[in-house]
């Protein structure tokens, strides 16, 4: 028994060192990428890019389901995009609240007949509307399809431009998000087929988006939101930038996913078979492009493109993260043939095995590690001091990664003030005990849901606001000007 506990603990320790080591290696590449992108931005002439007729136009698709409180804020932030040409396609996915009424009132909609391209299947369309106020805005009202993928596919059928940008109906976007992304796509249009950016969280994103950097609070005052902020930072800056530079960006985030339309059409649109559509489509595109031997790049940029609402309650957070865990496992299981298969290049040989290790088996090893260590102490294999030293080491190991993420964020945006940086850094070592247990519980629930083959999408309740709906709350219509002035 003693030997089993001893070796069990060592295996778990080895696992954690492997994950930490790989994270540190990816972090080095991410830092490099961040530095390169920051310098590139300085050498770019954005004035020419934003006004040129050769800057590719983009179809922006915004699926919305029961988003009466947020959808207009999202749309206003999109309308403030500082970009040459784009159309906005809002898909009301059979909302049962007042989403459509809000859209009708705020956009001054009128119904019109339109014969779309039917490229991919989706639930039946009930009505097509155009805005009298903004000529490049259309609203498609459809029956509920049960998934964001269905609404996205509907939007794809109405999209006219070479690039499609899929957004969330409850997220607010930075005015320069599209320009920063398309800068890379336009520089290498043959190979850059997918792109995402850095997404941040806020309990009330409408108060922080679009405003000049020095006029806004870059982080919330609540601990739960701060920990989520740190987690997003690590995910987007420490990990995805490195993946992007190494050629295996495995998740183009659904809250901001830019794709070349022809590629999405070739692979058959977003899949409605999965709980969440973004990671699965990214896997499918990798698989498709590799299988057909076509050169391609899927990128992540360090610039912050959006702020999304962070769950303000632990229950809501657990529900959201459990769904993320479930969809990650669904995708990994569905694409298990790519694991270790040289045909799929780095994606199959490195990225997916790493994801299996960190996302798929992470929970198992974390639980096993904690269990064997506790058992080891009970049996006298280890002292309790060992346990404490081990935990504190893990906490500071995580904190090092967090500080590095804060550094990268600060270099790329300069949005923080010194006190924000100090607060985030100080929270780093506390994350293991104050936040990780919540995530572990969420991952456990997500894993159980995956094993039970559960599907479905449970939206978390919106954070409380003093007023239910304030369309002009952050002066979003002039956000583009403010951003350029900054």
């Amino acid at each position: 028994m003693h030997a089993v506990v001893f070796w069990g603990t060592l295996v778990c320790l080895g696992y954690m060192l492997a994950v930490f080591g790989s994270s540190a290696l990816v972090l080095i590449v991410s830092s490099l990428d961040n530095a390169i992108r920051s310098r590139e931005t300085l050498a770019e002439n954005f004035d020419v890019l934003v006004s040129s007729r050769f800057t590719p136009p983009v179809s922006v698709i915004i699926p919305a389901y029961n988003e009466e409180g947020m959808v207009m804020l999202t749309i206003r932030s999109v309308l403030a995009f500082d970009y040459a040409e784009f159309e906005v396609i809002v898909v009301d996915d059979g909302s049962t609240d007042g989403t459509f009424e809000v859209l009708q009132r705020e956009l001054d909609l009128e119904p019109f007949g339109y014969y779309e391209r039917r490229i991919v299947e989706c639930a039946p369309v009930v009505g097509v509307y155009r805005s009298r106020r903004y000529e490049h805005v259309k609203v498609i009202q459809k029956q509920n399809g049960g998934t964001k993928a269905d609404a996205s596919n509907c939007g794809l059928n109405y999209a006219r431009f070479r690039y499609v940008l899929l957004l969330d109906g409850d997220t607010l976007y930075e005015p320069d998000a599209l320009l920063n992304s398309m800068r890379l796509a336009a520089s290498d249009p043959q190979r850059v087929i997918g792109l995402t950016g850095h997404i941040s969280v806020a309990s009330h994103p409408e108060t922080t988006i679009g405003a000049r950097a020095q006029d806004r609070e870059a982080i919330d005052a609540t601990l739960l939101s701060n920990f989520q902020h740190l987690e997003y930072l690590r995910s987007f800056l420490n990990t995805r930038l490195g993946w992007s530079r190494l050629g295996f960006m495995m998740c183009v985030s659904g809250a901001f996913s830019l794709w070349r339309r022809d590629v999405v059409e070739e692979v058959g649109g977003w899949s409605t078979e999965f709980s969440c559509e973004d990671i699965e489509l990214t896997f499918r595109v990798h698989e498709y492009m590799r299988r057909n031997g076509r050169p391609y790049r899927i990128l992540s940029i360090p610039e912050m493109v959006a702020r999304t609402e962070a769950p303000g309650r632990i229950r809501a957070l657990v529900s959201q993260r459990a769904r993320w865990q479930r969809v990650t496992l669904e995708t990994l299981w569905s694409y298990r043939r790519m694991i270790g298969n040289p045909r799929y290049g780095f994606a199959g040989l490195v990225a997916i095995p790493l994801m299996v290790l960190s996302e798929g088996l992470g929970l198992v090893f974390e639980l096993l590690g904690l269990g064997t260590l506790a058992l080891g102490i009970a049996l006298g294999v280890f002292s309790w001091q060992t346990y404490v030293v081990f935990l504190v080491s893990m906490a500071f190991g995580l904190a090092v990664l967090t500080s590095a993420a804060v550094l990268m964020e600060d270099i790329s945006t300069r949005a923080y003030r010194l006190r924000h940086i100090a607060r985030l850094i100080a929270l780093g070592p506390l994350e293991l005990v104050a936040y990780r247990p919540i995530l572990m519980w969420a991952r456990f629930r997500g894993t159980v849901a995956f094993l039970r083959s559960e599907k479905g999408w449970d939206k978390f309740d919106r954070n409380e606001r003093s007023l239910p709906f304030q369309p002009d709350v952050a002066g979003l219509s002039s956000a583009g000007d403010a951003s350029r002035a900054a």
């Binding site: 050498a43 004035d47 009128e110 280890f382 500071f396 550094l407």
Partner: protein, 397 residues
């Protein structure tokens, strides 16, 4: 002491030290950044005060530190004459170093210094700028080439434009990005671009045809027109686009001929050209495209018909009796989008027994598909046209 514990403690200590080090670095770099920003803004205020007091630009820049001068030169919000003067002063102070940096780079960090040096040389109007920019355009690093393209695009002399045209011809950087700079160039580039129309590479002919669309000039248009029969469909499409843009008299016949082009996107551009030219007498040609097998061509035809305005109604109405469903749907959509359907509804609201209006609406609704009819019913109801809405409801069914 447990040896395991001691080794763990060492590891823990090391980790804590790493964390403290990284965190201190984060805070220090940010504090330094803020400090630099503060000193830069102070210097800018000094400069503004001196200029307000009537000092000449060189006098106002006198005594400012090198980093501030570099910041002023690089800052996009700096007025061009001040940025140029700051660059000249910098060059006076550190000529050897800047020239060396502009010449080549050894590492990734050097690469960005090289671009900064090239920008200073260019702003200062140095004679070395052009040869060094030409060298940068030939560099194997795409970032350096992209930076050089951007700097050349910010200049206004024809020699810089010629360098950009060479870069375009040789495909040294994304052609669309080079073209964007040439398209924004403040001086006419006809003489530089025309030779590209005969280039063996179709990509060059395409971009030359596209860029020449800025210059309405009969001689250029004649040369462009020869590309209407080019072997490459992209070239044909770009030529149509440019001829329509300059409203050339050759555009109409060229577009009509291209309506039957075997390649769908050429037909798209032919349809758009006719719309842009505003030739209502060509509406019937566009109606034939409503039966095209490609959705994109049908949509371009619809949009062009809409662009022609309400005058196309008499030309498109007979097509409601077409055998082709796409044509009927397309015509109904066009009539809806030019406001013809709503105009008929308004007439019916005032005169419910207007037989002509009823007959035409019935034809649109019965032949033109459910989407247009359904939307019209909703629109009329929303507009409070109750009598018309009742009538339309019956028609729609």
């Amino acid at each position: 002491m447990n040896p395991w514990l001691s080794s763990y403690t060492v590891a823990l200590g090391a980790l804590v030290l790493v964390w403290v080090g990284v965190s201190a670095y984060v805070i220090l770099t940010r504090a330094l950044f803020d400090l630099k920003g503060l000193s830069f803004h102070t210097a800018r205020r000094v400069l503004d005060r001196r200029l307000a007091r009537g000092a000449s630009v060189p006098e106002a820049l006198a005594g400012l530190p090198r980093r501030t001068l570099a910041g002023i030169a690089a800052d996009a919000s700096t007025p061009r004459p001040i940025a140029e003067a700051a660059a000249r002063r910098l060059l006076e102070r550190r000529r050897g170093r800047i020239v060396n940096q502009a010449r080549s780079h050894r590492s990734d960090t050097d690469k960005w210094r090289r671009l900064a040096a090239l920008r200073i040389l260019s702003l200062a109007g140095s004679s070395i700028a052009k040869p060094e920019l030409a060298r940068a355009l030939r560099d194997s690093d795409p970032d350096v080439v992209g930076g050089a393209v951007s700097i050349l695009g910010s200049r206004s002399d024809l020699e810089s434009a010629a360098m950009l045209v060479d870069a375009l011809r040789e495909g040294r950087y994304a052609r669309s990005r080079i073209a964007a700079h040439l398209d924004a160039f403040p001086r006419p580039l006809t003489d530089l671009l025309r030779p590209l129309l005969e280039d063996p590479d179709p990509a060059n002919r395409q971009w030359a045809a596209t860029l020449l669309g800025r210059y309405p000039d009969p001689e250029t248009e004649l040369e462009l027109a020869t590309l209407i029969v080019d072997d490459d469909p992209q070239v044909r499409a770009s030529t149509l686009k440019s001829l329509a843009r300059t409203k050339s008299r050759l555009a109409g016949p060229a577009a009509v001929a291209a309506l039957a082009d075997p390649v769908w996107f050429v037909r798209v551009h032919a349809a758009r050209a006719l719309g842009r030219l505003g030739q209502v007498d060509r509406a019937s040609d566009l109606v034939t495209l409503l039966a095209d097998e490609q959705w994109w061509v049908r949509t371009a035809a619809k949009e062009s018909l809409q662009e022609l305005g309400t005058d196309v109604a008499p030309a498109v109405l007979p097509a409601l009796r077409s055998d082709d469903r796409f044509v009927r749907d397309g015509v109904a959509e066009v009539l809806q989008n030019i406001g013809f359907v709503d105009e008929l509804i308004r007439r019916l609201e005032h005169a419910p027994h207007d037989e002509l209006a009823l007959r035409v609406l019935r034809s649109i609704f019965q032949n033109g598909g459910a989407a247009v009819a359904g939307a019209a019913v909703k629109r009329s109801a929303a507009a409070g046209a109750s009598r018309a809405a009742t009538l339309l409801d019956g028609l729609g069914q």
